[in-house]
C-alpha cells in the first residue's frame, strides 16, 4: 500500500471519527442539561432515577455500554435492526454516556451561581425561564467551559472506541492497515491526526473561554 493510499484511508476514517464527535456533542450537550435538571429536581423519584442513570453511565466502561446498545435490542428483545443501526448505536451510546458527565458539570456550574442572582432577577420581575436563560445560563457557561473542554478532548480520543462495533473510523482503519502492512506507520500517522484534531479543538475552546473573560 502506498503512503498516499494509507493517508487517504486514515483521513476517511478521521471524517467518520469527526462525525461521531460532532453528533455526540450535538446530542449530549443539551441532553446533559435535561439530566442536570432531573438530578436537581425537587421530585425525589425523578432525582433518584437520574442519579442511578449518572451512576451507571460513569461507573461502567463506555465500551461495554456501546456493546449493550448495539446488541441489546437483539439479545434482550429479539429485534433485528437495520445495518445502519451500527452507527446509530455508537451515537446513542456516546451521547448517553457523555450526557451523564456533562450533567454533573452543568449541575456544579448551576449550583455555584449565588442565590442573590436569582433573587435580584425575581425582584426585577424576570420569569423563572427568563432568569435562567438570561442571567444564570450565561454565567454557568463561563464557569463550566474549562471542565467541558476536558470532556470534549477526552471525547475525541474516545471516538476510537467505536472500533468495538467495527465502525470504520480512524483507529479501526489504522489497526487494519497496521495488521496488513505489518508496520507501525499507520498508528503513528493516526496518532498525529488525533493530536492535531485535539489541538484544533483545544484552541477553539480557548477562544471561547477568552471571549467570556470580559467579566468575572
Amino acid at each position: 500500500m502506498s503512503f498516499a493510499t494509507m493517508l487517504k484511508e486514515l483521513l476517511t476514517g478521521l471524517a467518520t471519527s469527526f462525525g461521531i464527535f460532532a453528533l455526540t456533542l450535538l446530542f449530549s450537550l443539551p441532553l446533559g442539561l435535561v439530566v442536570a435538571f432531573g438530578r436537581m429536581s425537587k421530585n425525589k423519584i425523578i432525582s433518584a432515577i437520574t442519579q442511578v442513570y449518572i451512576s451507571i453511565m460513569r461507573g461502567t466502561p463506555l465500551m461495554l455500554q456501546l456493546l449493550v446498545v448495539f446488541y441489546g435490542p437483539y439479545y434482550m428483545f429479539g429485534i433485528s435492526l437495520h445495518p445502519t443501526y451500527r452507527f446509530i448505536s455508537v451515537i446513542i451510546g456516546f451521547s448517553l454516556n457523555y450526557a451523564a458527565y456533562f450533567a454533573e458539570i452543568y449541575r456544579g456550574g448551576i449550583e455555584s451561581i449565588p442565590k442573590g442572582q436569582y433573587e435580584a432577577a425575581q425582584v426585577l420581575c424576570y420569569t423563572k425561564s427568563q432568569c435562567f436563560g438570561k442571567i444564570i445560563l450565561p454565567q454557568v457557561i463561563k464557569r463550566i467551559t474549562p471542565a467541558v473542554t476536558n470532556e470534549v478532548i477526552t471525547l475525541i480520543k474516545d471516538t476510537s472506541l467505536a472500533f468495538t462495533l467495527s465502525i470504520p473510523e480512524m483507529f479501526t482503519n489504522a489497526k487494519a492497515i497496521a495488521a496488513a502492512e505489518k508496520s507501525m506507520v499507520a498508528f503513528v500517522a493516526a496518532g498525529i491526526f488525533y493530536y492535531i484534531f485535539n489541538l484544533v479543538v483545544a484552541t477553539v475552546m480557548r477562544k471561547i473561554e477568552k471571549s467570556m473573560e470580559y467579566y468575572n
Binding site: 442573590g116 433573587e119 435580584a120 425575581q122 425582584v123 420581575c125 420569569t127 454565567q139 463561563k142 467579566y215
Partner: protein, 253 residues
C-alpha cells in the same frame, strides 16, 4: 391608602420563630428605618416584605392589593401567575448589590426594563442614561460591575431598582458591604431620594443616618417591634430598656 402593609406577620425557620406578630404600614412618601441587633429579624422581615420568603401567617398588601391573606392563622398567597404582577410594586436594593456580572452597567439597568416592562430599547436607554447621570455614573455606562468600586456598584443597583419605577423601595443594609469611606456616597444618594419623597423602607445599622433621613424609626428585637416612633424619640429618648441597651452599644464605640 398605605403603599405597603404587613399585618400580624409570623415566620419561623424550623423551631426558630424569627418574626412574631409584626405589623408595619407605610404611607406614600414616608421613609421608615428599621434598626435592631443582628438576629432581630430585620432582614427576614424585609425578605418577607419583598416576597423572597413567604410568611407563615399574616397579611401582605401593596397599594391596596392583597397578595397574602391570613386564613385561620396561615398566610395564603395568590397563585404564582397572579402574584407575578405585584413584583413590580416594589424595588429592593440588596446588601451585596447582586448586579448581573455579565452585563455592563447600562444593560444591568435596561435589561429588566426590556425583559419585564416591555420597554422599547430607546425608552430603556433614556431611562438608563437619566438614572446614571443622577447617580453620577454617566461615564461608567460601558463598564462591567467587576470594574467598579463597591460604592459605585451599589449606586448602579439603586439605579436599577429606580428604573422599575416602583411605588416603594426597600433597602437591605445598603452600606454594610462597603468600606467605611464609601458609605457616605450611598447615604447621600438615599438622602437625595428622600428629598424627592420616594417611599422607602431602610434596614440599616447607620443609626445617625436613620435619625436624619427617616420619618419614622422602628426598633426590632427578637422578632418583635419593641419601639417605634419619630426618629428623635426612638433614638434620642428611647423608652424601652432593650432599645436603650442597643443604642448604648453604639454610643460606646
Amino acid at each position: 391608602m398605605s403603599v405597603f402593609e404587613i399585618k400580624n406577620a409570623r415566620k419561623s425557620f424550623g423551631d426558630l420563630e424569627v418574626l412574631k406578630d409584626i405589623s408595619v404600614s407605610v404611607e406614600k412618601g414616608e421613609i421608615v428605618s428599621i434598626i435592631g441587633p443582628s438576629g432581630s429579624g430585620k432582614s427576614t422581615f424585609l425578605r418577607c416584605a419583598t416576597m423572597l420568603e413567604r410568611l407563615d401567617g399574616g397579611t401582605l398588601t401593596y397599594s391596596g392589593h392583597t397578595v397574602a391573606e391570613d386564613k385561620d392563622g396561615k398566610a395564603v398567597y395568590l397563585k404564582n401567575n397572579e402574584l407575578r404582577k405585584y413584583y413590580s410594586e416594589f424595588g429592593l436594593v440588596f446588601q451585596n448589590f447582586n448586579l448581573f456580572p455579565h452585563y455592563n452597567v447600562m444593560k444591568n439597568i435596561t435589561d429588566p426594563l426590556l425583559t419585564s416592562k416591555k420597554a422599547t430599547p430607546k425608552e430603556a436607554e433614556e431611562i438608563g442614561k437619566k438614572l446614571l447621570e443622577k447617580m453620577g455614573l454617566s461615564d461608567k455606562a460601558d463598564y462591567y460591575p467587576c470594574q467598579l468600586s463597591g460604592g459605585q456598584q451599589q449606586r448602579v443597583s439603586i439605579a436599577r431598582a429606580l428604573a422599575m419605577n416602583s411605588n416603594i423601595l426597600f433597602f437591605d443594609e445598603p452600606t454594610s458591604a462597603l468600606d467605611p469611606e464609601l458609605t457616605g456616597d450611598i447615604l447621600r444618594v438615599i438622602k437625595s431620594l428622600a428629598a424627592e419623597k420616594m417611599t422607602m423602607v431602610i434596614v440599616t445599622h447607620e443609626i445617625e443616618f436613620a435619625r436624619s433621613v427617616s420619618d419614622r424609626v422602628i426598633f426590632m428585637s427578637d422578632g418583635v417591634i419593641v419601639e417605634e416612633g419619630a426618629p428623635d424619640d426612638v433614638i434620642l429618648n428611647p423608652k424601652n430598656e432593650r432599645t436603650k441597651a442597643f443604642l448604648k452599644k453604639f454610643e460606646e464605640i
